[in-house]
């Protein structure tokens, strides 16, 4: 079972994402200029600053050759996980509802945050329990979620006192209506090993994704 990890010019978390994927599946590097998804069973769009975040975060990446294929893959029901910049790209692509605005205090923030699982009726959180707290690092400047999202599509909310970016209704992660595309601002790929991640809670999302990709 293969999970692709996309690299754009300016992506910086692709290596960690591939290391995280390697714990649950075979990672496959995908390049922004290559529309071939190489037969992967799921796609991870990692964090960074694709195309320099020019114009708006994710706005240019959304039109890259690989994204045309990822959009078709997602519309066909394939699992797609967007992390941080990946979340921004999926919103820009119209695969996820809402948009990410600059943090309310306009600062880049890098810290461990607690998020609470709102639903386990998605592949990504099927390995969690409702109300479970996951400790995952977050690091971004443009992570203030804005948008009207049905309650059942909100997968993760920042725990009380952890919504540092001003996100509407504490939303930290959402899925599309079909539930096969998820985006979140915190970085689960940085929390897959107790030695370096502060926790291994992030692994749960990859385990869930790998499970559905097999099915």
């Amino acid at each position: 079972m293969k999970l692709g990890v996309v690299t754009f010019p300016g992506t910086c978390d692709d290596v960690d994402a591939r290391l995280a994927v390697a714990k649950v599946a075979e990672p496959v590097a995908l390049w922004h200029g290559d529309s071939d998804l190489h037969g992967v069973d799921g796609v991870v769009i990692p964090g960074g600053f694709s195309y320099g975040d020019y114009l708006r975060a994710g706005a240019i990446a959304r039109f890259s050759p690989v994204m045309e294929s990822v959009i078709a893959f997602a519309r066909a029901g394939g699992p797609v996980l967007g992390i941080c910049n990946g979340f921004q790209i999926l919103c820009e692509a119209g695969l996820l509802p809402g948009a990410l605005l600059p943090n309310v205090k306009l600062r880049f923030v890098c810290r461990q945050v607690d998020v609470e699982v709102q639903t386990v009726a998605t592949p990504f959180t099927a390995t969690c329990e409702v109300g479970q707290r996951l400790s995952i690092p977050a690091k971004h400047t443009t992570g203030c979620f804005f948008g009207d999202v049905p309650r059942e599509q909100v997968v993760l909310r920042y725990a009380e006192g952890h919504n540092f970016n001003g996100s509407q209704d504490d939303v930290a992660g959402v899925v599309n209506e079909q539930g096969n595309v998820m985006g979140l601002m915190p970085h689960p790929e940085h929390a897959v090993d107790l030695l370096t991640g502060g926790s291994a809670d992030g692994l749960k999302l990859f385990e869930g994704m790998a499970r559905v990709a097999v099915a």
């Binding site: 114009l55 820009e92 948009a99 600059p102 205090k105 804005f146 001003g166």
Partner: protein, 79 residues
């Protein structure tokens, strides 16, 4: 044709840049300033101005969070 696209945060959307500027101006002694919003300006030469609206909706602005205003200025700038 030379075109100018003004992009600004939609009314009611959190605009922390505008707020920061609004707070900074009185600190410099400029009083009586309010309702500050910070947006973007895109200037471009286009052959077909009728495409501008589509360009704005697909790329230059995110209609969910931003309003845009298209101004056309004749003639095209010398390159």
């Amino acid at each position: 044709m030379r075109a100018r696209v003004l992009i600004r945060p939609k009314a009611g959307i959190l605009d922390p840049q505008g707020v920061a500027v609004e707070r900074a101006l009185p600190a410099l002694g400029f009083g009586g300033v309010g309702n500050v919003h910070v947006g973007r300006l895109v200037e471009l030469d286009v052959e077909d101005a009728s495409q501008l609206d589509d360009m704005c909706r697909k790329l230059l602005a995110n209609p969910l969070i931003e309003d845009y205003e298209i101004q056309t200025v004749e003639p095209a700038a010398a390159s």
